[in-house]
């Protein structure tokens, strides 16, 4: 039995042999392949005739609940399964004449707090009340749909009870499901089952929700059980591990471009509550134990840090982090909280923040979220510099910079034009049940039902744009090595015949990521101008419009269309990821990168700015290695960072995995803001990751 790490460090063993076997089966695609083999249920044209979209959706959900295969895995401690393959592809798994009917919903963390603490029965009451309230209005249909979907959930639930009944090995599963998720969870075991069962139904219907603050959801229940001697920590770990293992039921392997691991099911740990109290509890540490032992990357974990975070927790995070895989990331919650409050969220709401399943900050269970990453470098090249074929010229750097910012702001305006009103692309009742506001307003998730409706523009290629602008400032205006027109001509010719100047531009200036004030201040300035652009448009639409910084690997597609850059890059080179430096331009190490990044006023981008940090395995060896990671996290918090994802990968291990994928099926690596199983990336992605890990320090 083998759970590989990205750098050869051995993982500890705490779970039972049976649970480890179950984990290996699940990671080894046993359930994913089964799921994939059955894409969805079929509806006939006759059944669908004369139905509204919402009615079609309800019928589909009901049939899914009635007909989806019930799967009970050997030895499973919790039950429920999302057994239809189309759900893996972000679709409602229902077809008519082989055609899919509806897309599904992702990038949200639903309200598991109500599920665990009040039970789905409470939501049923709300739905009934909503139907009464909106009877005879155009919102009645949604309220009826809510009741229909809840009824389907009951059907699905009943089928599992039947399947588990009178099977002694599943007695606990059965008894727990007699109470949850419809009633509130009375103990830890019920709590885990309640979350998993609700999660599995959401997923069965095609949705990809995040989990949110698992230690907040389950901490009190566990504490109570431990106090009353009903459960030991080892038993609790075993139970909780099954949530992680069951969460691997969609792993199918194969070649999926950006990987098959991620369905945005992020877990957030630690941090403070609305009273400023530390929420860290035994569940926090159990999650770290499980991730450390199994390396399961399907639930990326983000830990909320602040200046008072316990040293013990930091060390534990460091120990798990250094196994690699990019499974653990951190927020500096002080900046996140200030950012949300500055943006207008009440403090008590901000305190609950989790994310959309990846890392973009949102208030869980209350937020309709979407984002749009765009290539800021493309705006510079296409709009401001007319893709290098025009006769653009600028007399000063300020003139050049202002022209760019004007183009950037114009772009934001066009972006918002598409989002002035709520235009639901699909019925989405199932997720709407678990989003506060929907039943109250009688509106679905996509109709603006949730308390907060967010559309977040994400500036991508930030470091590249900053470096480009800075190189022009130095080459043309400060050092006068070349005129603006000449430089544009040279770039249009992809530096051909100007290798000396190319080398000069590449080597002689310190770019973003080297803790060099002049260029870092330009980055901070650009980020502020971007945030100003977003703020100016906020309030024009039903969506709030907070900015963020990300690329999520899109730099791979973007770079193909990019022309040569002033900072010494030829056309088409893969450039910076998220808020990280342009690859190869950072020469001063991880602390310098963090310092550069933190010079930006990161609270101006409330949905977040992700910093990827790559570290060589040699740096994190032994006790010094733990100290190094702890120091990076501490510094990141002190300096005012937002989100950081350190990754420790040995490029040699990755090359071995490329040669011998069978032995590295479970090896997880960070891609760009998320992680994926390495062998499920296509060759282009694999090579990109290997080269990044070779150039990293």
């Amino acid at each position: 039995m083998r759970f590989p790490s990205a750098n050869g460090i051995e993982r500890p063993i705490r779970l039972s042999a049976a649970t480890r076997r179950f984990a290996l089966d699940s990671l080894g695609r046993k359930y994913g392949l089964l799921t994939r083999s059955n894409p969805g249920i079929d509806l006939t044209a006759e059944e669908l005739a004369d139905l509204s979209d919402l009615e079609k959706y309800d019928l589909a959900v009901k049939k899914i609940a009635l007909e989806a295969p019930v799967r009970v895995c050997p030895g499973e401690l919790i039950s429920g399964a999302a057994t239809l393959g189309a759900a893996i592809e972000h679709k409602v798994p229902a077809f008519c004449d082989g055609k899919m009917l509806f897309w599904s919903i992702s990038h949200l963390t639903v309200d598991f707090e109500t599920v665990v603490k009040k039970g789905v029965g409470f939501i049923e009451e709300q739905a009934k009340a909503a139907l009464l309230k909106y009877q005879g209005t155009e919102r009645e249909a949604f309220c009826q749909s809510a009741l229909n979907c809840l009824e389907a959930f009951r059907i699905y639930h009943k089928r599992y009870l039947e399947a588990l009944k009178e099977r002694s090995e599943y007695r606990c599963n059965y008894e727990n499901l007699l109470h949850v998720p419809f009633s509130r969870a009375e103990n830890f075991y019920e709590g885990v089952q309640s979350i998993w069962f609700t999660f599995s139904f959401l997923r069965l219907c095609g949705n990809w929700p995040g989990i949110g603050r698992l230690d907040v959801l389950l901490g009190d229940l566990l504490e109570n059980d431990l106090r009353n001697g009903k459960l030991t920590l080892d038993e609790a770990r075993e139970i909780l591990s099954h949530l992680f293992i069951k969460g691997c039921e969609w792993i199918c392997g194969g070649d999926y471009g950006s990987g098959d691991a991620q369905h945005y099911q992020n877990i957030v740990l630690s941090g403070t509550d609305e009273n400023g109290r530390d929420v860290t509890n035994d569940v926090t540490y159990l999650v770290l134990d499980i991730v450390e032992e199994t390396g399961i990357s399907d639930f990326p974990v983000t830990v909320r840090l602040n200046k008072n975070t316990d040293e013990k927790l930091l060390k534990r995070v460091a120990e798990v982090m250094r196994l690699g895989g990019g499974i653990l990331a951190v927020y500096n919650e002080e900046i996140v909280l200030r950012s949300l409050v500055d943006y207008g969220y009440p403090g008590s709401e901000a305190a609950k923040f989790a994310n959309d399943g990846c890392w973009e900050v949102q208030v869980p269970g209350k937020t309709n979220f979407s984002y749009h990453p765009f290539d800021s470098l493309a705006i510079l090249q296409k709009e401001t510099l007319k893709s290098y074929c025009g006769s653009v010229d600028f007399a000063s750097f300020e003139e050049f910079y202002s022209a760019y910012v004007k183009d950037l702001k114009a772009f934001l305006e066009t972006l918002l034009q598409n989002k002035l009103t709520f235009k639901p692309s699909t019925p989405c009742t199932v997720v709407s049940l678990f989003e506060e506001g929907c039943l109250k307003k009688g509106l679905s998730y996509l109709e603006g039902g949730p308390v907060y409706n967010v559309y977040s523009p994400h500036i991508g290629g930030l470091a590249d744009t900053v470096n480009f602008l800075y190189a022009v400032k130095k080459l043309v205006f400060d050092d006068a090595l070349v005129s603006f027109r000449e430089l544009i001509g040279i770039l249009a010719a992809n530096w051909e015949g100007h290798e000396t100047l190319l080398a000069y531009a590449k080597n002689k200036y310190a770019y973003y990521g080297n803790d060099h004030d002049e260029v870092d201040e330009l980055c901070a300035r650009l980020l502020n101008d971007f945030a100003d652009g977003c703020d100016a448009l906020n309030g024009r639409s039903g969506y709030i419009f907070p900015g963020g910084v990300s690329t999520f690997g899109r730099q791979l597609q973007w770079s193909k269309h990019r022309l040569a850059c002033a900072h010494g890059r030829k056309a088409g080179e893969v450039l910076a990821a998220n808020a990280s430096p342009t690859p190869g331009s950072d020469q001063a190490g991880a602390t310098a990168i963090i310092r550069s990044y933190c010079k930006c006023d990161l609270k101006r981008v409330p949905t977040g700015a992700a910093l990827d940090i790559r570290l060589l395995p040699s740096l994190v060896k032994g006790e010094e290695g733990i100290a190094a990671l702890v120091a990076l996290m501490r510094g990141f918090v002190i300096l005012g960072g937002f989100f950081m994802q350190p990754d420790i990968v040995d490029a040699a291990v990755l090359r071995e995995a490329q040669r011998d994928p069978d032995n590295y099926q479970n090896l997880s690596v960070r891609v760009s803001g998320w992680n994926a199983r390495f062998v499920t990336l296509n060759k282009e992605w694999q090579d990109m990751i290997i080269s990044q890990n070779e150039s990293g320090r």
């Binding site: 290798e499 000396t500 000069y504 001063a588 602390t591 310098a592 010094e624 190094a628 702890v630 120091a631």
Partner: protein, 294 residues
Amino acid sequence: MKADAKAKLVVSEIQRFCMHDGPGVRTTVFLKGCPLRCLWCHNPETQDARPELLYYAKKCLGCLECLECENGVHFFSEGIHHIDKSKCTVCSKCAANCPASALEICGKLMTVEEICEAAEKDLAFYGKEGGITLSGGEPLFQPASLELLSFCKERGLKTAVDTCGYFSEELLAPAVKSTDVFLWDIKDTDDARHLKYTGASNKRILENLRKADALGAKIKLRFILVNGVNSEERHYEECAKIYRSLRGALKPEVIPYHAFGGVKKEFLLESANGRSEWIPEEGQIAKFKQYLGI
């Protein structure tokens, strides 16, 4: 007496986020100048105290920008870049012009204050333990290093000194006063070999070590292990004796020889002198550690 913030030192490099140069996260300042000439030196560019020209042949584009040199240091024949270092006045013009950074001046004059400020950039990462480490070369070879150490202490930085132990005795007391921890290299306990391989006797080194310990210094010994040179049990035993005799000894380290320093010789326009047969085997390292009880 306050430290002289304006005193100057020749710095070859400042490296941030070092995890193996003292407790916690360190910013390591490499100072030029060393009284020893160890054949296995891994930082040969820091031996000479004066700034000097380095050349990275692999980076050279052959663009001829360096031909602007007025002293005729650079010339090209049949596409090959030749450098006559004897003519170099270290004016740094060629290095500034070189677009590929193939030419570089190793050795920058910096004030005590500037160096300290460079180290302070990473204050947020130091925690309780981390700080500045002076290395080199022999940090105490440049007397102004004492000013730097006491200036750093005044500013509240933790200090470490990575020393070969060979320096004049009067530096000892002030150095101990301003240094939180010494990383003290022991090359060889056999004095004849020490003279042969480092160019100097080990007497002063061991004497300084004893005195530093008496003055209350915290010392982490670092034993250099070179296969075929000092890889013998008598030496291990002597090292263990030294370790046990110190009052303020922290857990020592064995530093196995590696050949990277040899490659750097080429950057100095000398021939590479790395010797793979000097690299010790795992068993030898383990044996040495056994003697030391670590």
